[in-house]
């Protein structure tokens, strides 16, 4: 079965970022396909590579990057939410005249259409948030 996952909350702020990760991992372990993970609202903060949590804590961003790359998952950050919160890739840096990027490996920035497409192409959409 194909799943699209929506994550509305940032790491270390709300349990949604953890629940979504554990659900995604369990779905993959059971042989399901993750069509897309769409990070919306504060959820885009899951995709900055500049976080440095304490060494004895889970690294939520690295954990997503690793899972996404291992399973070739399309992990999309909402562009308008990312612009508001300063999550920047090469394209956004150039378009908006920023002097740095911070997007984490395995993520990309795109529009809300990607969420709609996820709903059309997947058997289920599961929303994690506050």
């Amino acid at each position: 079965m194909k799943f699209t996952i929506q994550v509305n909350e940032g790491p270390y702020q709300h349990e949604a970022a953890d629940t979504a990760y554990h659900f995604t991992k369990a779905a993959l372990d059971k042989g399901h396909e993750i069509f897309r993970i769409f990070f919306y609202h504060d959820g885009v903060n899951n995709g900055t590579r500049l976080t440095t949590p304490p060494q004895d804590d889970r690294n939520i961003v690295d954990r997503w990057s690793k899972l996404g790359q291992e399973h070739d998952i399309d992990m999309v950050l909402c562009v308008a939410a990312a612009q508001r919160r300063g999550i920047v890739d090469d394209g956004e840096a150039e378009r908006n005249g920023k002097d740095a990027t911070n997007i984490a490996p395995g993520f990309r920035i795109s529009g809300l259409g990607q969420l709609i497409e996820g709903g059309i192409e997947s058997d289920r959409v599961i929303v994690f948030g506050d």
Binding site: A16, H22, K30, H32, V127, G129
Partner: protein, 96 residues
């Protein structure tokens, strides 16, 4: 339909709303702080009567709630069970 509730019954009325809208054949899964709704001595216990209710085991354990404190008849699932419940329902509604 599968209803997901992630709020404590002491923090908003999500569980009241979800249970008032549930139809025969629907399932309810309590996750995150939603697991507080499954406590037998809690204020929300009566809302769960006669319904198909499950609770996410890791979230119970994280809050130190043991199985004997739960409303009778509740099923405890792990994340794999959560995935199975999603696959078994045509729609999933997160009551955020």
């Amino acid at each position: 339909m599968l209803h997901l509730v992630n709020k404590s019954p002491h923090d908003g009325c999500n569980l009241d709303t979800a249970t008032s809208i549930m139809k025969d054949g629907d399932s309810l899964l309590l996750i995150e702080d939603g697991v507080y709704g499954a406590i037998k001595a809690g204020k929300a216990a009566s809302l769960l009567e006669g319904r198909s209710v499950s609770v996410l085991g890791p979230d119970l354990a994280a809050r130190g709630i043991s199985e004997d404190k739960l409303v009778d008849g509740i099923t405890i699932v792990d994340y794999a069970g959560f995935v199975d419940m999603v696959a078994a329902s045509d729609n999933v509604q997160s009551w955020l």
